[in-house]
Symmetry: C2
Subunit: 288 residues, 2 copies
């Protein structure tokens, strides 16, 4: 199954036969205090720079989050969306837990956006799905429901099924639902990775949808965490992960994704692999 997102000038296709899609994670003030202070002061220069840098590093979609306590999120998120849409040509993932902010940003965006995200909880679905349907967007569904986050892959599959079914009830087709099987922190629970992979495989096999995740969660708290995130992505791709919210500027993450695409036959004759290798060498030479 293929999910199509679009900016005003460019389509991006997410699917099992396509190169892996990186949704750039950097435009998010959570845990970035400098960005948070700048955004509070109305300074969006770093947003524009981060947008350009992530696209240059291979992000095919950009996630945009304006969640800062006490800030007028609908206003700020809309400003950020407009700025990024003018500075880059990639589709956007609009990332908010506030329906009013989602609504404002979707109304301001002239493309087919990704809405990040809803869970499988009824009240959440009822707030988010009408917005997704109204704006013809796609949506990320987090594979948990009223029961909370389960370590049983079957429960995650059931939550995913609920999301897909409720989306259909609202007129959002299955191809426009990306399921996140929930990438949890392996340092906190050694079973987190295996449960993710098992849930991912079942959801892909049963529902046929595209899968995504927030890849960086997996390595939280570990030394050498970029390698763990990169390796996790490679492990998850054969289980059906076709895109992820990740940092393309990290060379290990970028290389693992390109190498996995190459091994999986999605980069015929290593064209993109070799182009990245050359670009990294040119950048290293320019830097040194």
């Amino acid at each position: 199954m293929e999910t199509r997102l679009a900016s005003p000038t460019r389509d991006v296709v997410i699917g099992p036969e396509q190169p892996f899609v990186v949704i750039g994670e950097r435009i998010n003030p959570t845990g970035r205090s400098a960005l948070q202070e700048e955004l509070r002061a109305g300074d969006l220069s770093r947003v524009e720079a981060d947008a350009r840098a992530q696209v240059e590093a291979g992000a095919a979609v950009l996630d945009v989050n304006a969640g800062i306590p006490g800030v007028d999120e609908p206003v700020l998120l809309t400003r950020m969306v407009r700025l990024i849409a003018s500075a880059t040509d990639v589709p956007l993932s609009i990332d908010s837990s506030t329906p009013a902010a989602l609504e404002a940003a979707l109304a301001a965006y002239d493309g087919k956006a990704l809405v990040n995200s809803t869970t499988g909880e009824s009240s959440h679905l009822e707030r988010v799905l009408p917005l997704v349907a109204k704006h013809g967007a796609a949506v990320i569904g987090m594979a948990h429901d009223e029961r909370g986050i389960s370590m049983d892959p079957q429960v995650r599959l059931e939550a995913a099924r609920t999301i897909v079914e409720r989306a259909a009830d609202h007129g959002v087709p299955r191809k426009d639902v990306l399921i996140d099987p929930l990438a949890m922190t392996v340092a906190a629970d050694p079973a987190a990775g295996a449960v993710f992979l098992e849930a991912a495989g079942r959801i892909r096999d049963e529902l046929g949808v595209n899968l995504t995740c927030g890849a960086s969660n997996v390595s939280f708290g570990l030394p050498g965490r970029h390698t763990v995130t990169a390796t996790f992505l490679a492990l998850a791709m054969p289980a059906g992960l076709t895109c992820a919210i990740a940092n393309p500027i990290d060379p290990e993450v970028r290389r693992a994704i390109l190498a996995a695409d190459l091994v999986l036959g999605r980069d015929g004759y290593a064209v993109r692999w070799i182009a990245n290798h050359r670009a990294e060498r040119a950048a290293a030479n320019a830097g040194g």
Copy 2:
């Protein structure tokens, strides 16, 4: 299913619930002209150094190959096996295409060795399996037969099934047969990786055996090849690859394997991951 190899003092268990086993590939004169010249001259000092270095870097088994044109291979291989068995405590993989060399080395080895390898061709099986049975060894079966190397995963499965069945006829139990689904060069054929993964999954599911491969083949001819090899290993582990002939001294390969074990829940609370991180940091500090 678990495969048990043994040196005189140490058992190594290969299996889906176990940490991934690296079979150190370095003690092989193919493509190493300096080593080849030294071995011709009877100088085995590099063999001993390579053995120790690979074990220190995490190899749980060492492959030993003495294939040099014009050399008395049974004599040289036996000397190398004796030396490595005295210098390290890990089980050995005895790597030869010459039955006389396999026989001599197996007779000289006081442990449960791995024989590398047989194909599924009848004549090959009839030469190798009696030696494996006589010495109570395990054996690597390459998943091709008289038809040659097929790009059809089903044909590779059939070759693997033949090997397992013929091994049983000779009294070699299934747990002592490791199947190599054939890791080919992706630069030569973009489908090579996907065919490997599909064949691996089918062989694991249908036959239940442990899988191995020569991991470095995959990246032959590519820039940044260590990353491709490392990523390939991560991709292959969920498909049933439980060990591989690889270079543990390469940091990317070592880290990808440790990170994959961590994500797959085979390194509870990241004990081995953190130990490797510390060892690398200590080595870097000592070096700098």
